[in-house]
Homo-oligomer: 524 residues x 2
């Protein structure tokens, strides 16, 4: 029995073009459930229902979406045990602390933050020019297609994660393309989403889910006139193919692609606390078997005795640490290929480099090393993302060479600098300006793998880490703004305005009125 898809408010038989099964990465064996690969007919039906839902949602108050998100969060908690078991079976990520203590609570927390943002409305940057009679805010831009990644079955899941929460909170229906590596988790989540949507009496096409499409249909979907925008998290090649299609149709597409998240360790820091940094770095790099968007995949150090000590201490830790299970055979293959590409480009193995070593799909904890000089000769190849438990140390001969290496860095989600206040200040002042424009989030003395759901967070960055350097995928309210169109009202009387722009501030939103941010009503 092939699993049904969620279309226009009910679970229906897919007009499928094939089927697939997920596998248990810890055993390499296929899981029993069979899922459909949708044909264009499914996509077409989803688009039509979503466009209809958009029109109906525009007539409902934002509180309805907030109630939906909150109810959905409660339902996820109630079904937590089954969700965690399924996610564990499909991803091999540890039940505790990862799935149960960290990721599931984060996911429901995000949904609740999104609900609060929807209810209150400040995310839409309501702006009122009283004298000119002009008012504007962001309004929903249309149905959003969400393509989630494989590495967070809850927190970035297409049907419950950050992009979903933000797109819904901004007032848009979502067409979910579940990640093929955890379809069962997605199904559980979508069942709860649909139950919550029905309870909130949302239009039937508010949440829809397909499990998989052909690449061609995916490209057609993101370019369809009925769609508003797309959010995609995943591999660079697939993301760029979708981007080409969406760009040609003038449809916004928000991408989170590969990132190697350079970490620069300045000499005094390694001098003073090299062992501690080795510990921190190893922990960050191997956590979740290295399968984080913000995994520190490149470490830039400057040659010296303390640096060699740090490298030796790190290599030892990489060798000693248990080897985790990767998310899928595909991830394992891709990691192996990437490590080989780095070696071919001149990197030398300090630890790992071989397949296996853990349960199921696995690859030994891998640490590589290359000189700054060599890096400069093969900068592109040596920035290959090795998604998984691997990292490359780039040892610059001196600070000039470190500067040259930074000048070759591509756009990344994060960049970190470890330093000692005082002793490293001059070097920090010289090198930080080279790193800053190349990364979305700059950290000091901290590994990048934690991504707090904070209003000040940027989980974004310059191309090719993402498709546009002005947006973040994590953090309320900013992540909602990706899914809004700027809508201006010129000389429109009060009862024809959206509630957010009326004189009376019914939701208590922050609004920019005549140049000042306030929660007050428009003064008479």
């Amino acid at each position: 029995m092939t699993q049904p898809i969620l279309l226009a408010g009910s679970w229906r038989v897919s007009q499928s073009a094939g089927t697939f099964q997920a596998e248990d990465p810890a055993t390499g064996e296929k899981l029993p459930e069979v899922y459909p690969i949708s044909s264009w007919a499914d996509c077409d039906a989803a688009l039509t229902a979503a466009a209809e839902a958009q029109r109906e949602l525009a007539r409902l108050p934002a509180t309805r979406l907030a109630e939906f998100l909150e109810d959905f969060a409660r339902r996820i908690e109630a079904r937590g045990e089954a969700l965690i078991a399924t996610a564990h079976a499909e991803t091999a990520l540890p039940v505790s602390p990862r799935l149960s203590v960290a990721e599931l609570p984060r996911t429901v927390g995000q949904l609740r933050q999104a609900a609060a943002a929807a209810r209150e409305g400040s995310w839409a940057l309501p702006t009122i020019d009283g004298k000119a009679g002009i008012r504007s805010c962001l309004l929903p831009l249309g149905p959003v297609a969400v393509f989630g990644p494989n590495n967070f079955p809850f927190a970035f899941n297409s049907v419950a994660g950050g992009d979903f929460a933000a797109a819904i909170a901004a007032g848009n229906p979502v067409i979910v393309k579940a990640n093929s590596s955890h379809p069962g988790t997605s199904r559980h989540l979508a069942e709860e989403a649909q139950a919550a949507a029905s309870a909130a009496e949302l239009p039937p096409g508010t949440v829809q889910m397909l499990y998989r499409t052909s690449h061609a249909d995916g490209e057609r979907l993101v370019a369809d006139p009925r769609l508003g925008a797309t959010a995609y998290t995943g591999s660079r090649s697939a993301g760029l193919a979708l981007k080409r299609a969406a760009d040609a149709a003038g449809k916004p597409i928000y991408l989170e692609l590969s990132s190697i998240n350079p970490v620069l360790m300045l000499p005094a820091a390694l001098e003073q606390r090299g062992e501690q940094i080795a510990e921190e770095f190893t922990g960050s790099c191997l956590m979740g078997c290295g399968q984080f968007c913000t995994n520190p995949g490149l470490v830039l150090v400057i040659a010296g005795a303390a640096t060699e000590k740090f490298i030796a201490a790190t290599a030892e830790r990489f060798r000693a640490a248990p080897v985790g299970t990767l998310l899928s055979g595909g991830v394992a293959r891709s990691l192996q290929e990437s490590v080989h590409r780095l070696i071919e480009a001149g990197a030398e193995l300090l630890a790992g480099g071989t397949a296996g070593g853990g349960r199921g799909h696995s690859f030994s904890n891998t640490l590589l090393r290359v000189s700054g000089r060599r890096f400069l000769e093969r900068a592109e190849a040596l920035q290959t993302e090795a998604f998984g438990n691997a990292s490359l140390l780039v040892v610059a001969e001196n600070s000039d060479e470190a500067a040259a290496v930074l000048n070759q860095m591509e756009g990344n989600l994060t960049g970190a600098i470890y330093s000692v206040a005082g002793a490293d200040d001059a070097l920090y002042a010289r090198l930080e300006p080279l790193l800053r424009p190349r990364v979305g989030r700059l950290l000091n003395d901290k590994m990048p793998t934690g991504v707090a759901v904070s209003p000040a967070m940027n989980h974004g960055g310059p191309f090719p880490a993402t498709g546009h350097p002005g947006f973040t995928a994590v953090g309320m309210p900013a992540s909602l703004r990706r899914f809004g169109m700027l809508a201006c009202y010129d000389n429109v009387r009060g009862d024809r305005l959206p509630p957010l722009l009326r004189d009376h501030n019914s939701s208590g939103a922050w609004r920019l009125i005549d140049g000042a941010w306030t929660q007050a009503d428009v003064p008479r």
Copy 2:
């Protein structure tokens, strides 16, 4: 003598691939000055100097750019007479009120508003999460290439207009591609810009100007790794070619392309004040010879006696009004082609339709009419933009047909609805939701041709009016945000933060601190 270009702080001989001259549209004669068509060598030199300027600007306080913009505004005023004479010669736009009373004051006003925004910093949406130790704001995203349009020699000029002001105020150097129809005006402006930049001791590549490049070099320019972003205003075909190139390189490009700015006139409004609306519409449509981005190019009405009276009154006014001079021979040819395309698609001429009738390059004031039924058959062709003094009336048989017509509308900068409170309310409630998502600015009982420089303005809209529905080209501070990258600081100590994110709020910017907008310091 070929005019020099402005490169890296000085006026230099172009490594040109050819030359061109502007012409006086009122006589069709070439103006004497000869301008270079730059080769890639000029573009390459400009990019290198701009990238260097970007690094230096990052070290300067925002006040320096504010001082530059204010000094530039003063210098434009001081040279006002010569500027107006040159702009008049190159565009045939009337000296008064258009150039001297309206456009030049608007231009210096924009520069001063941009200066204020730069000095104060709120535009960058500084956001502080005290507890998590995370802070973020927009930072300059890199050199901006500005391609200005032909229709506003001052207010949207590549070297003095809204995009220029916003890009500079956001902290970026600008590479100006002057519009080829007013190179002399651009030269005067760039001379003043360079004098002001020198006086402010800005880095040499802060303002650079080329007059023209090949299409291929333009596409290479917008995709160059040294560039941060592009702002383009002009024709759809040239804009989309640049967009393809920029998109492929992952470089943000902000476009303002064609727009026909539909105006919906509801029955009671035509009943009650048809004559007055005919007068208003004719004025708006023929102002500046119709060469406004927000010119009302399509009027949707519902069949009836009052509608026929309105149409007759409008046609009479179109025939009686003096015929203006168009900006260039190219504009005249393109207008003729567009009118012919509309006629071929089924529109009927009510007035005009022939070349000439005014001084120099001109085309008779043209009013066309088509049925709603026919429109639905040829919706794409009947949305051809006829840039100039022409407009198309679409007469729907009833409100259902009007709804169907609205459902076929492409993305536009503006949409207007004329109505009578009470009598038209039901129809307004039905049709407004169809128009709203298709336009950036929705007006009531007002023609769209005025674009106030207001914080609440949206001079933007859904594709293909622009390239992204979330941004505006007019209005501070929002227009600056196009040229910022989101930069987050995680666990970075105070003296390493940009001034805007430090505890002490030195510029008095509005900042979102722990969920509340405030101008205060971060509390201890």
